[in-house]
């Protein structure tokens, strides 16, 4: 049971990453791989601040803003200097590797003896349960610590998702969605599309970095290599989410992305349980995304009409 709750918790934490990837890849059609660097950036900023005794919510928020800054750099490289989106992302991601090392001062910062969002929510959970260490949920023995961490993360994800849903329906948010959809039209309606892209990629990377900040606190350390392959991971979640909801309505796609992330984490946990070597994980993930990208094309070729309908 503890394993299942842990899987859910990590799935929820990484759903923020998936939401970030969703914004850049789907809303802006901007293949942004800065995320590999900004998830570590969020983790390293938050971890360094936590070690210095900064309050956990504040440290996580600082991670979010650091991520926004990184995203704004990528967006500016693309819009101001006309560098290809992929290359802009690669440049910033590469630069972030050194920056992350500078922030942490070493390649790994442990968070075992500091106050984090995890210890705080455990503390609150214990208080609510008046000192009990476990409770019974439908016949399962559930540890109060695990449940309260999951509760806190769920609350954070719901809050973020709600904020995004609201934001993308404001005047500014709608202009951003339309920018990825039809640049010609949005210019003709008086929107500076370059600003929209910079801001959008910034928000995307802010979410990714927040996800990194929470992940570091959950797993108890920030590591300079923790971001490798995270864009693909996020993309896999987005694709699963799209398959789950199968529509392009904003609210559904956002929640689909979160569900996709949790489901993907569950699948991974099951695969690992069945004896998949953790070393093969990224290979399998890449293979999965590859299949998800080509299968629709293949189906369209084979059955043009049914796939169209």
């Amino acid at each position: 049971m503890s394993l299942l709750i842990g899987t859910f918790t990590i799935g929820c934490i990484l759903s923020l990453l998936a939401l970030g990837v969703f914004i850049s890849f789907r809303i802006f059609a901007f293949p942004d791989i800065t995320a590999d660097g900004s998830i570590t950036l969020g983790a390293s900023v938050a971890a360094t601040l936590l070690v210095r005794g900064v309050s956990p919510p504040l440290a996580s928020l600082a991670g979010f803003f650091a991520g926004m800054l990184a995203g704004a750099c990528t967006g500016t490289l693309h819009t101001r200097f006309k560098i290809n989106p992929l290359l802009s992302g690669i440049l910033v991601m590469t630069a972030l590797y050194s920056i992350n090392l500078h922030i942490m001062g070493k390649s790994n910062v442990p968070l075992l003896s500091v106050t984090t969002i995890v210890t705080q929510s455990e503390h609150i959970g214990m208080k609510l349960m008046r000192g009990a260490t476990s409770f019974n949920l439908a016949g399962w023995e559930v540890s109060v610590r695990d449940a309260s961490v999951l509760g806190a993360i769920l609350w954070a994800v719901a809050l973020t998702g709600g904020l995004l849903y609201w934001f993308f329906r404001t005047n500014l948010g709608m202009a951003m969605r339309a920018t990825g959809d039809n640049v010609q039209m949005i210019r003709a309606l008086g929107v500076n599309d370059a600003n929209m892209i910079v801001f959008g990629v910034a928000i995307s990377n802010g979410l990714v970095a927040l996800s990194g900040a929470l992940l570091a606190q959950y797993q108890g350390f920030a590591d300079v290599g923790m971001g490798i392959g995270m864009v693909v991971w996020g993309l896999a979640s987005v694709i699963i989410g799209e398959a789950l909801v199968g529509t392009n309505q904003l609210g559904l796609t956002l929640s689909g992305t979160v569900m996709g992330s949790v489901l993907f984490r569950l699948l991974v946990a099951v695969a690992l349980r069945w004896g998949l070597s953790p070393n093969d994980l990224k290979l399998i993930t890449a293979g999965f995304v590859f299949c998800a990208l080509i299968v629709p094309q293949f189906l369209r070729k084979k059955w043009p009409r049914s796939a169209h309908a």
């Binding site: 404001t170 039809n182 039209m185 309606l189 008086g190």
Partner: protein
Amino acid sequence: MLEVHAVSKTFHSGTPNEVRSLRGVNLDLAAGSWVIIIGTNGSGKSTLLNAVAGTFLVDEGNIRLAGRDVTRWPEHARAALIGRVFQNPFSGSSPSLTIQENLSLAARRGLSRGLGWGLKESLVARMRDEVGRLNMGLENRLENAIGSLSGGQRQALTLLMATWLCPELLLLDEHTAALDPKSADLVIALTEHVVARDQLTTLMVTHSMHQAASLGDRLIMMHRGQIIHDFRGAEKRRLRLDDLLARFEEVRRAEQLDESAAQMLAEKYI
């Protein structure tokens, strides 16, 4: 209202593909006038429209709009003064957004966009009203993605979007060319209604000689990046379909004469 002065534009300058699209074009539009532009393929009609809209910056000359010199303004800044409908019915709206979201984007053309709620109730009520007047039954489908509509429906909505906030200048770039005849008639009727209602200064490019003869109060014919005819007032009203076709024939003959003359000279002397 609109003053285009000695505007030139050359594309692919300095390469074998060099195209001199606009050669010193002068055009003066009075407020409230509706000017039709016709011309052969590659005559620079659409280029002139795009130069005014700011899709690119012109090489020479200047453009004044509503008393302001907009020659160096980027496209999105000029959009505060200009409403546009494109030839491609899919260019004017955002397919994955709903009808009402598209309209609400148009309702803030050229205005600042902050964190205000995009779909205010009063705005949606006006949408239902105006979309209902299109007689397309779309007023009950405001929450459908606009990508699910036909080209004619999307073009009608684009026209509604372009004129939602009364623009200083309305640019119509062959906006019925890609539609079936029935939808084209519908969009033209809608155009006439809106332009007359709001007294819009309008610049319209068309391929249809029929539209050119029947619409607008002034007609300009372009050829090779220059304005070669300018009919206004009574002269424009007298203009019939046959007159226009005759003018085109004239242009064609002149071209042919040039070519055959050149060929003859080449045969004789080379």
